[in-house]
Subunit: 189 residues, 2 copies
């Protein structure tokens, strides 16, 4: 499943990332991780103390990648609206949902401050970036002065996260697209 | 845990509803349902064929209750904006998330057309009600004619569902409130 050159540690982290995205933390057993990674139990406990430790490494890496992808998308010299639009229209695997956001529905992630921390940090980071862009747009007169940047940033992020819910409920990506288009029509200068 | 007069069947459905909300379908074992309901395994198989059958009854009832609550909230003689506002500001147990929406992150619910159906129907029903209200608002001139009612309805619902994600990630209800206030400021006539 993974390339030959991949270390055991890498295989374990990648397998855990995939399983967390597909089945969540509650739905992922150590056995399933070992099977997917193609490594033995001894190797796992050599590198990690257990499922929680492995999940922590996996969630941290997924969060880092998501933050980097958002940075690449938002670091452009375009208008505030164009950057918010780029974020909303970003290519996504809509029916798989968000690999970070979906973890908030996982009771054992939310109950564990260590596992929740990288989820919280990633979402807060993206919200902060979006809020700064909305602020720029308010300052430049692109957006109405009554808009509160932190609130609009939360609305943008919530529309994306909730868009996944609508799409997965209906089994079709259209519901996600509709929610995003609706928000863009409300934001249009 | 449940009142003495409650039938075994009722106890089982109520226990399943609670556990689905707290832990999801993947995270709920038949054993946990029996323990919470305080009934024996034989009673469960007398009334239901198994966990899937019981979950179906539970999700259907939760969906019915949610639709009825939304109907009570929206069946008022107020402006379109006031009804959307009432929906968005509805009292919610924000940190618990939506008992219906959270099931979309459950791989075994989404993979099972029978279990997904009541989730899809409930979300589509609320979206349809919100879209009709936005249409009224567009017709009366309360909302801009460029707004597409089905899209705005999806945005409203997505903001609520995504608001739960932000709140659970941060462990605080403020993120939900911010997303909702942001959307209301964009919708304000």
């Amino acid at each position: 499943m993974y390339s030959e050159g991949m270390s055991t540690q890498e295989r374990l982290v990648e397998a855990t990332r995939e399983l967390l995205w597909e089945r969540g933390y509650v739905g992922t057993s150590p056995k399933a991780i070992l099977q997917r990674a193609g490594v033995g139990q001894g190797s796992m406990y050599h590198h990690f103390t257990g499922k929680q430790d492995l999940a922590l490494a996996a969630i941290r890496r997924t969060g880092e990648e998501l933050r980097a992808a958002v940075d690449r998308l938002l670091d452009t010299d375009t208008s505030a609206y164009a950057r918010i639009e780029a974020y909303l229209l970003r290519e996504r695997d809509v029916l798989r949902g968000c690999p970070v956001g979906r973890l908030t529905m996982d009771p054992d992630v939310i109950a564990d401050p260590e596992l929740r921390a990288p989820v919280d940090e990633t979402i807060a980071y993206i919200e902060g970036r979006l809020a700064a862009i909305v602020q720029e747009g308010v300052d430049s007169g692109e957006f109405a002065p009554r808009l509160v940047p932190a609130e609009i940033a939360a609305t943008v992020l919530a529309t994306v996260q909730g868009g996944y819910v609508l799409a997965r409920a209906s089994g079709a990506t259209e519901a996600f697209d509709g929610a995003v288009r609706g928000l863009l029509s409300l934001l249009a200068p």
